[in-house]
């Protein structure tokens, strides 16, 4: 991994973009919102065929043993299309957890199924994830405490501001792993989830900007395209700047997670690119560096995506405020992902701690 995607990674992202463009993700999300996960699970299977679901699963368990940067590229496309479902949980956090905790029986049961897209997993991990997202559509539900990983029993559901999302209370069940070593694994697995969440936000922000630009090019008022008005031009320019400078933080966070020693099981093989090593600001504590850089990426991607959301709605006007138009799928997703996987305030506090003061 470098701070720009490799040609192979760009190709992978392009494949996913075509795959999701061919699917009616909007209709899938509407069905998902009604509690019908079948079309969504079908998309999930196709994504698994393309390799998305096995990126965080080691090759020995049927996965691809990809790097965090591969996850970032994939998640950005999933966010770009506002795909519903427990993406960060099932594609990143849970496989990372299961790879490092428990026993081989557990791994052989779940990891190949996750990689193949036949199993979808979700996760509660208070305080960042007080609920398990979309447990109704998941086959495996975990509960991660600070230093323990447990199976979870699913409780009552809550509707979300994002219609294509349902949140479930969970109760801790059988313990899979506990203790000091587990704490480090949990921290790393959650950071993988945060990384994927940040990538989804960046992708969603990019989609919102693209949609707003396209609309501003064609919508006419006062005898000209609204994209000719400075108010529209300058607002979208600011969005472009925010997205442009969030992306390198996201890629840098992926590099930092690659260097994190708790990564041994999955991506150690990618850590030796000399160029990559050039660009990481190291304090000598790889775990803290990774936490800091992941948090910085989440803050910046959420900020950029929220700017994009506000701007895109304002450019669209009333039409963007209708369910029918579909812009709302991105608007609500962005707001929800901003507060999930750690709020901006919580992530800023982590950066502050790394800067030497809480």
């Amino acid at each position: 991994m470098r701070l720009v995607p490799s040609p192979e990674q760009d190709g992978f992202a392009a494949v996913l973009h075509r795959l999701l463009s061919d699917v009616d993700v909007g209709a899938t999300a509407d069905r998902w919102a009604l509690g019908d996960a079948a079309p969504g699970r079908a998309v999930w299977s196709r994504l698994a065929e393309a390799g998305v679901c096995g990126l965080a699963v080691p090759a020995c368990w049927g996965g691809l043993g990809g790097a965090p940067s591969d996850l970032v590229l994939a998640a950005e496309e999933l966010g770009h299309h506002a795909l519903p479902g427990p993406v960060a949980e099932s594609v990143a956090a849970v496989p990372t957890l299961l790879t490092a905790v428990g026993d081989d029986r557990l791994r052989s049961t779940w990891l190949p199924e996750l990689a193949a897209g036949r199993t979808v997993a979700t996760l509660a991990a208070p305080p960042w994830l007080p609920y398990a997202t979309d447990a109704h559509a998941a086959d495996l539900v975990l509960f991660a405490g600070r230093d323990a990983v447990r199976l979870a029993r699913v409780g009552p559901a809550h509707t979300s501001m994002d219609p294509a999302r349902r949140l479930f209370e969970v109760f801790p069940g059988d313990t899979l792993a506990a203790g000091a070593d587990t704490a480090a694994v949990v921290a790393r697995a959650l950071d993988m989830g945060v990384l994927v969440c940040a990538a989804q936000l960046l992708g969603a922000g990019r989609a919102l900007l693209e949609t707003a630009v396209a609309y501003a090019q064609t919508r006419h008022q006062f005898g000209r395209a609204i994209g000719q008005f400075q108010a529209v031009q300058h607002r979208l320019a600011d969005v472009a700047v925010a997205l442009e400078f969030a992306r390198p933080l996201l890629y840098a966070a992926a590099v930092a997670l690659t260097r994190d020693p708790h990564d041994a099981n999955t991506v150690a093989s990618t850590g030796n690119d000399p160029h990559e090593a050039n660009v990481v600001a190291s304090t000598g504590d790889d775990r803290q560096d990774a936490a800091r850089d992941v948090s910085a990426a989440k803050v910046a991607c959420a900020d950029a995506a929220n700017r994009a959301a506000r701007a895109a709605l304002q450019v669209h006007g009333a039409i963007g405020y209708t369910r029918e138009h579909g812009l709302g799928r991105w608007l609500t997703r962005v707001r929800v992902l901003t507060l999930a996987w750690g709020t901006p305030t919580e992530h800023r506090a982590r950066v502050a701690a790394a800067l030497g003061r809480r």
Partner: protein, 380 residues
């Protein structure tokens, strides 16, 4: 919020407060946009009217009390503080009625206002069209002259309340030769008349608050034209001022929302998070500013474009306030339908009643006196 009031205002405020305490339904009414909700909200309006609280500022003959503007502000504060039901009649009460007081005939007022005050007639507004959103002067719907009246044809959209309303008012082109702002006429029409069809539009917040209205040779009598034919733009601008200003979005609404935010923060906010604290404080300050601004306006009547200044302020305040509430709730916010619904509704604020971009141009050119942007079709 206690106000030390002169005896008349205090007595009015106390009456309103007591009546609301006795009468506001303990459980919220169903959504105003559903059939059951519309029925319940109409019944609520009749109870308000029976207590002579529906339209306190109107003359008594139309159901009001001829109350001074201060009383209207106090009524709104109490109403919102009590979390009383949404006003199903708001488009009539706050937009059409002020227009009729300025531009209507005595006959129109006598015929329309008493029924409006009791929600016997619920009104929708029908300004926008698919190609006339921000650029309202691009209206294409027409009113053609016919015997004793006009035949309306065309399509209106973003019509608030139309799905549950009885009647609507809007702008139609009566002189097809005239360009843009000219040749427009303000007309009232029956939403159940032959030739009218209404289709609800579902909003982001889940409510079908908007509708499209399709009109095909819908007859309206001359008596339902407001102002002179061809003078519709002037009439509409008068209405827009009310829409942007404090008649539709009174300070009481934001003062009550800020009080709820403060309560939420005291209950659920991280006490060590001073960044959050500062945003809660800013929302409270903003609501107070709007409130004090409105009280000040009682003594110094605002200028002709003041409603644009006001609209910019309350629409941004509303988003900041609700956004802060979501951040107080943190990871739990997305499951709180009250605050998330309020947040999504607030996001529409910079769009409806004339986008904030339009308002900023009006403030710049009309209030500050900056030179006009070279613009073939500015609606100002």
């Amino acid at each position: 919020m206690n106000l030390d009031l002169d005896p008349s205002a205090r007595s009015f405020r106390d009456e309103v407060r007591a009546w609301l305490a006795d009468n506001v339904p303990a459980t919220p009414l169903p959504s105003v946009h559903t059939p059951a909700g519309a029925t319940a909200h109409r019944a609520w309006e009749r109870r308000l009217a029976d207590a002579r609280l529906a339209v306190v500022s109107w003359p008594e003959r139309y159901g009001g009390r001829t109350a001074p503007p201060l009383h209207t502000l106090l009524f709104e504060e109490e109403y919102h503080a009590a979390a009383a039901p949404a006003r199903i009649g708001q488009n009539g009460l706050f937009l059409l009625a002020p227009t009729l007081f300025t531009h209507g005939t005595p006959e129109q007022r006598d015929r329309i206002l008493p029924r409006m005050a009791r929600a016997d007639d619920v009104w929708a507004q029908a300004w926008s069209e698919p190609d006339a959103g921000s650029d309202l002067a691009a209206i294409r719907s027409v009113a053609r002259r016919t015997d004793g009246g006009w035949l309306l044809s065309g399509q209106k959209t973003w019509s608030s309340r139309a799905a549950v309303a009885d009647r609507a008012f809007g702008l139609f082109r009566t002189d097809p030769q005239a360009r843009r702002h000219r040749g427009l006429t303000c007309v009232m029409f029956d939403l159940r008349a032959p030739g009218v069809s209404v289709r609800g539009i579902q909003q982001l917040d889940g409510e079908p608050g908007f509708a499209e209205i399709f009109l095909d040779d819908v007859f309206v009598p001359d008596a339902d034209v407001i102002g002179a034919p061809g003078d519709g733009w002037r009439v509409a601008m008068n209405t827009a001022g009310h829409e942007r200003g404090l008649t539709l979005r009174s300070p009481g609404r934001f003062v009550a929302a800020a009080a709820r935010l403060v309560a939420l923060w005291r209950e659920a906010g991280d006490p060590g998070d001073t960044g959050l604290r500062d945003r809660v404080v800013d929302a409270w300050i903003g609501a107070q500013a709007y409130r004090m601004h409105a009280f000040a306006a009682l003594d110094a009547p605002p200028g002709p474009f003041a409603a644009s200044v006001t609209k910019l302020f309350w629409s941004e305040l509303d988003i900041a306030l609700h956004s802060t509430a979501l951040d107080v709730l943190g990871a739990h916010a997305e499951t709180d339908a009250g605050w998330t619904g309020g947040y999504l509704f607030a996001l529409a604020g910079p769009i409806y009643a004339g986008t904030n971009e339009i308002q900023r141009s009006i403030v710049a050119e009309r209030v500050l006196g900056l030179p006009r942007e070279p613009n073939p079709g500015a609606p100002r």
